[in-house]
């Protein structure tokens, strides 16, 4: 009977450790380093022969380096006779170019949702949640937002960009009502944060009392942190698919939802051959 072995890439040691803790395991020994010519070198430090291996690596930071490191680790485990190798990629790189749909892979893909964790956070941290409005910062996120709004039994709204003429800046139009309500912006990722900061301004001027932003992946590159500090958010909430410690030091408005238990439970269920679909609508304790 194979055992679970969890290895961490260098992108997010903290999350990997949390996942291992939840499963009551130690992280597997692995040495990842770079030679002086910047080539990645990976050496697995313990036997994986016949084991069920999970490699945790997030597509953040130095994406190409982390991606190569992941590929090399997977390859190393395979040729060291691991029974099965599963990649746990909380934030999938290059996701804005290709959809991370199942049809694009020849192997089984489990695309987990942060939604249950987001719902839990809203109920526990926003006192006025029963009378709030969930807002999508663009038309593309309507489906995501309506799903959350339905489960909370609240209203939703969306902001869409109206392009008047070729050289003119897009106008942002709010569709729905936020007057005298708490507005919660929901999106899947925040990179430079230009869009959500504009959206926040729009919501305040439309009468919202407070604006929260909840984003699954907080990439926060370039001017993102300073934009958030200057904007009128009550809080900007992200999950820990991407390490946030450094950024939180520069921005007190950022709060983090820990999703390690979702990943740990997915690993446990996959290993035991149980259904993972329970996790699509529930947060494990």
């Amino acid at each position: 009977m194979p055992n679970i072995k969890i290895f961490s890439g260098s992108s997010h040691q903290d999350l990997s450790q949390r996942i291992a803790d939840r499963l009551g395991l130690e992280l597997g020994k692995v040495v990842t380093k770079k030679f002086s010519n910047q080539e990645t070198c990976v050496e697995i430090g313990e036997s994986v022969r016949g084991e069920d291996v999970y490699i945790v690596q997030s597509g953040c930071g130095e994406i190409n380096d982390n991606l190569m490191e992941l590929l090399i680790m997977i390859n190393a485990c395979k040729i060291a006779s691991a029974s099965r190798v599963t990649a746990v990629i909380p934030c999938f790189p290059y996701a804005r170019q290709d959809k991370k749909d199942k049809g694009f892979f020849d192997i089984p893909v489990d695309n987990l949702y942060a939604e249950p964790a987001v719902l839990k956070w809203i109920k526990e941290n926003i006192p006025e949640w029963k009378n709030c409005t969930i807002v999508s910062p663009d038309a593309g996120g309507a489906k995501r937002v309506t799903s959350i709004a339905d489960r909370l039994n609240v209203d939703f709204a969306l902001i869409h960009k109206e392009r008047k003429k070729a050289n003119e800046v897009d106008r942002m139009v709010l569709v729905g009502d936020v007057k005298d309500r708490v507005a919660i912006l929901v999106d899947d990722m925040a990179d430079t944060c230009g869009t959500i900061c504009h959206a926040a301004d729009k919501l305040i001027s439309a009468g919202a009392t407070k604006v929260y932003a909840i984003l699954t992946h907080g990439i926060f590159s370039g001017p993102a942190i300073s934009r958030i500090n200057n904007a009128c958010f009550e809080a900007v909430v992200v999950t820990n698919t991407i390490p946030q410690e450094e950024k939180m030091k520069h921005c007190p408005k950022i709060q983090v939802i820990d999703i390690s238990m979702i990943l740990a439970e997915a690993i446990r269920r996959t290993h035991n051959g149980e259904s993972v679909s329970y996790l699509f609508s529930h947060v494990p304790l």
């Binding site: 030679f35 002086s36 010519n37 910047q38 080539e39 990645t40 070198c41 990976v42 050496e43 697995i44 430090g45 994986v48 130095e62 994406i63 190409n64 380096d65 991606l67 190569m68 490191e69 590929l71 090399i72 680790m73 390859n75 190393a76 040729i79 060291a80 290059y94 804005r96 170019q97």
Partner: protein, 361 residues
């Protein structure tokens, strides 16, 4: 940039050819420009829109040559290449030929203890992305060609380096070709044969300890692991190697020493070799290598050492290193790459490019 279409032969791909340089940083585009000059074609543009890649012209039905030189950021270089190859494939290019003068991760081509054979992984990834042919130069291990299931042309830089020796080193006839360790003896010999010179081989303590780690599982086990063996098994034990102190086999007294190797990266072993050769009476020391990686503080160490000149080709951009060290000289090999491109596109024989190349080169 306008693309000038070449006259086509009967054997050439009907659509014509396009050359791209995959690198996003300017110093790496240099080689691509030089190659394109010879082929009389302008280099087409690829743009990187944040993380997206856009091909600026049609490649449908054409031979696409993608030139990629390895920069400081190896992993980014590889991803750039894979993305471009795949983009060309999904845009219906007829053939996608990678021109990768220095093939990265070529030192990780053997099974190390629970390591990955990264060259094989890379080869699989490139073929899967849609590469139909590979042109490279002086592969660290020729066996890497076998990792690919597409044709691989492993061109040689030696004719250029030999030409440099004959034209730029005035008393080269008084030189000795030196191998800084026994593993490069074959290469040294192939150079020496063509110049009608003698060779010398350096052997001893300061050698690359890494060679012991290749396939860390020893067979039979070394003396250290005695406890792990069942007492009744009569397996003969491997006597661990005893390395003699550094020696030079061959005479370099009163001669010019020319150390030849395929890659110069970490220079410690070259410096040690140079010291030894100086002690044994060599009055001038040259280092000739195809691929000048010269990472971290290699330039500074070379500048302060007994080495007189380091000659590398332009397979890897090294402008920064040249600024830090006046002893580094460059040999331009773009001509052979463009000739290879021309011949492949026209369906002509490549054997002319391999004449005078011995088995050991």
């Amino acid at each position: 940039l306008e693309v000038v279409k070449k006259q086509l032969d009967m054997n050439a791909t009907k659509g014509g050819l396009v050359i791209f340089t995959a690198n996003s940083n300017p110093s790496s585009r240099e080689l691509g420009k030089r190659i394109a000059e010879y082929v009389v074609i302008a280099v087409a543009q690829f743009t990187y829109l944040k993380t997206r890649v856009q091909i600026q012209e049609s490649v449908r039905g054409k031979d696409v040559f993608i030139i990629q030189t390895v920069s400081k950021d190896v992993n980014t270089t590889i991803m750039e290449l894979l993305i471009m190859v795949y983009a060309c494939r999904t845009s219906c290019a007829q053939n996608i030929i990678g021109v990768i003068p220095y093939f990265p991760y070529s030192k990780q081509c053997k099974m190390r203890k629970r390591g990955s054979i990264v060259s094989k992984l890379l080869a699989s990834m490139m073929c899967k992305a849609g590469l139909t042919h590979l042109i490279t130069m002086d592969l660290h291990q020729k066996e890497i060609q076998g990792f690919f299931n597409i044709p691989v042309d492993n061109l040689r830089a030696s004719p250029f380096l030999l030409q440099y020796i004959q034209e730029e080193i005035p008393d080269y006839r008084n030189a000795v070709i030196v191998a800084k360790s026994p593993s490069s003896a074959k290469r040294a010999q192939s150079f020496a044969e063509r110049l009608r010179l003698g060779i010398a081989v350096i052997h001893g303590e300061a050698q690359d300890a890494e060679s012991d780690l290749v396939d860390g599982r020893h067979s039979p086990p070394t003396v250290k692991n005695v406890a792990a063996i069942h007492p009744s098994l009569e397996i003969p034990l491997l006597i661990p190697k005893e390395k003699p102190p550094i020696t030079v086999v061959g005479d370099v007294g009163g001669r010019i020493a020319i150390i030849v190797d395929d890659i110069i990266d970490d220079v410690d072993s070259f410096l040690a070799a140079a010291e030894t050769l100086k002690e044994r009476g060599a009055y001038k020391i040259f280092v000739m290598a195809t691929h000048g990686i010269l990472s971290s503080d290699a330039p500074r160490l070379i500048e302060e050492s007994a080495i007189d000149e380091v000659v590398v080709t332009n397979t890897i951009p090294h402008e920064i290193q040249k600024l830090q060290c006046s002893k580094i000289k460059t040999v331009d090999i773009s001509m052979i790459l463009s000739e290879a491109i021309r011949r492949i596109h026209n369906g002509e024989s490549m054997s002319y490019l391999f004449r005078n190349i011995g088995m050991d080169d």
